[in-house]
Symmetry: C2
């Protein structure tokens, strides 16, 4: 959290990962991000992981630092309120971020009619508007068939396309707002999740590989493509990843393990130059044969000591429990984190934004709102509704406040 | 490509994926992004995939639309030129983006002494400055141990942490520049790749899952966690992913396959409510038993026809070759792409930015520069060097132009 964007008001109508992450990134830089949900919660309100009571840890994680407005979006008056909040005056307002099909009256043209400098950021599945989600886009990307050892596709678990899309939306929002602040002109900015995938496959060279080389990279397990990197078992049953992207990292492995002379024998043996990435990749099985034996005869602690301060690029595999319980980076020793009470769930280690701005020092992370927690205050502040008007809207179930269990 | 940010000049001193992607995202929105590399190329200049001639398709993919300046960064005069370019006057200048350890005289304090409103975006490995790359950060994240069927870690192939970090840098750059345009104040913005991972693990609820529930999600192959989704083989040996996140998607599967009545029997049989995500997850093996038999008795084309227009959320697995050759989204039918000649490599399908800005329509993608292609023009434009001065710098190998083979 910081306050860099504190003059911006962004309305988010969203679900799942991408748009919520984009909005949260803005909120974590200080923008007033108002997430509008249907009364009772959107389609992501109970997404796993959940607590034993069914409260979504996922929803809480992706909606931190926002305000929540619960409206009957299935009723005209609910949508009128949403439109009024989105298009309310103010230099930093008039910005909406969505990855849902627009409800009637909340499309770009109607919103722009109400506020001419409107900025709408809209994520679709495919460019033609057809549905696509991280799981379907990933299947089409080519990556599952080169993950693991090949043959059968292996899906990623990290929703990487959604995450990239959400962060593209954040950058696009700031670029569009910059343009508006200079020209007065709003606009619609549209991204398709499948285009995020396609652009990325191209950016990494895999489209050109097919078209220029007529080839495609193979599935090579946990090996690093085009240089040396592989995972190894330690004497005590842990696994480590050892990598040499640069010549210095390669030399460091020989020094730290004492295998320098033996590793050097691989060059003439395989007829490759091990000081090049291509040479190390070509000789990876021979390199791994030596390193596997060395790792298998050393415990994890011995390996850690052997590599400390040597310039070897390495890491160890850990599961979520080990990450949370054993890794000092995942603790309040790291200023990224604070132990925060999430209403409705409890106290846990909450990350802030992974950017440190020297001009606006880090504030503690803010928890996610309860659904509808800010309904009354937002409608009062932004629309100037009276308490009598709010009372009627609650009575008629056009709006809802938090359902505190 | 568009011209939204055409008044910005950003100097990038980078390698690999993260900072290059951040800079390219700015360049694709019109900023003048000048990548400075050592003469002969940086440590990523030959990263795979490469052509048969050894030209990097990866480098070309991640440095599109930038200008290239090749300098002897190992010599004081080369670093002096880099500092002069970074800190040259102009309202949109004075911005540097890096993921490398700063060379002497190119650290934030020295640069700020030369231009007081300097903005530096800096990506480190770990927060303490120690080395970490996508491969080591991923190993620590917990994700490899829940990818695939468990037991052994499975690394992702998409460098997802680098991609997220690069896009965070792009958003952070725009936020910092917005702040400077309002206050005159520059700043250093620092992100650690490991913090990008840690924040994401937290954002998705996996830290809270350990701390609140004392549990962690298991490895479940290609199944979707917390609802229904799985991959199935078709009669003709393809694989499809079928998903039901929402009730509507769930009902659509029954309708499109004709299995509605049989699927409905699973609710009482398993004692779950299949209209809930948790119910479908609990009953996923029973659901999959019916769908597997159905898919195995239908060809891919039959399945495509059966699902068309029904609201079933599905996709098919394809490899990089199939993506490039068969998927109409990966063609010039999609305005994301154009067929562009990449100097030194050839013509292929090049993606632009996956954001469509209505206020500044899409221009064709720009290829990556040749290394040093813009050395002379940048030093003339930005520093006002004469041709005599340029001649001396070339003669003394302080700067280099493109090495056209």
């Amino acid at each position: 959290m910081n306050r860099l964007l504190q003059d911006l008001r962004i309305v988010e109508i969203s679900a799942f990962v991408a748009a919520p992450l984009g909005g949260m990134t803005m909120a974590q830089m200080g923008a007033d991000v108002i997430r509008i949900d249907p009364i009772g919660g959107g389609i992501d309100h109970f997404r796993w992981p959940v607590t034993r009571d069914g409260a979504s840890l996922y929803w809480a994680g992706l909606n931190k630092a926002k305000r929540s407005l619960a409206l009957a979006l299935d009723k005209p008056e609910g949508r009128d309120i949403a439109r009024a909040v989105i298009t309310a005056p103010g230099a930093g307002g008039g910005i909406v971020l969505t990855n849902l099909a627009p409800a009637r009256g909340l499309d770009f043209a109607t919103l722009k009619a109400a506020r001419n400098d409107l900025i709408m950021l809209r994520l679709t599945g495919n460019r033609d508007g057809s549905a696509a989600v991280d799981y379907t886009v990933n299947a089409a990307s080519g990556f599952p068939l080169v993950t693991g050892h090949g043959g059968m596709p292996v899906n990623h678990v990290l929703p990487a396309w959604d995450i990239a899309a959400g962060l593209y939306l954040a950058a696009g929002l700031l670029a569009a707002e910059r343009h508006r602040s200079r020209t007065g002109q709003g606009q619609e900015v549209v991204a398709a999740l499948s285009d995020v995938m396609l652009a990325t496959v191209g950016n990494l060279g895999y489209i050109a590989d097919v078209q220029i080389n007529g080839s495609a990279r193979p599935a090579i397990g946990n090996d690093l493509y085009g240089s040396f990197g592989r995972d190894f078992a330690t004497a005590d049953g842990r696994r480590v990843m050892i990598i040499a992207l640069t010549r210095r990292q390669w030399r460091a492995i020989g020094g730290a393990t004492g295998l320098g002379e033996r590793l050097a024998m691989i060059g003439p043996m395989m007829d490759v130059d091990l000081d090049t990435e291509a040479g190390r990749y070509e000789a990876r099985d021979a390199i791994a044969a030596l390193l596997a034996r060395w790792c298998a005869s050393h415990t994890f602690d011995e390996i850690r000591q052997a590599f400390a301060g040597t310039g070897v690029l390495w890491g160890h595999f850990q599961d979520f429990r080990q990450l949370v319980r054993d890794d000092p980076r995942c603790s309040t020793e790291n200023p990224l984190f604070a132990s925060i009470d999430q209403p409705g769930i409890g106290r846990y280690l909450m990350p802030g934004l992974p950017l440190d701005f020297s001009a606006d020092p880090r504030q503690p992370p803010c928890p996610a709102p309860l659904l509808g927690e800010h309904t009354d205050i937002v409608l009062t502040e932004v629309l100037g509704l009276s308490s009598a008007e709010l009372g009627r809207l609650h009575d008629e179930r056009i709006v809802a406040g938090p359902d505190r269990r």
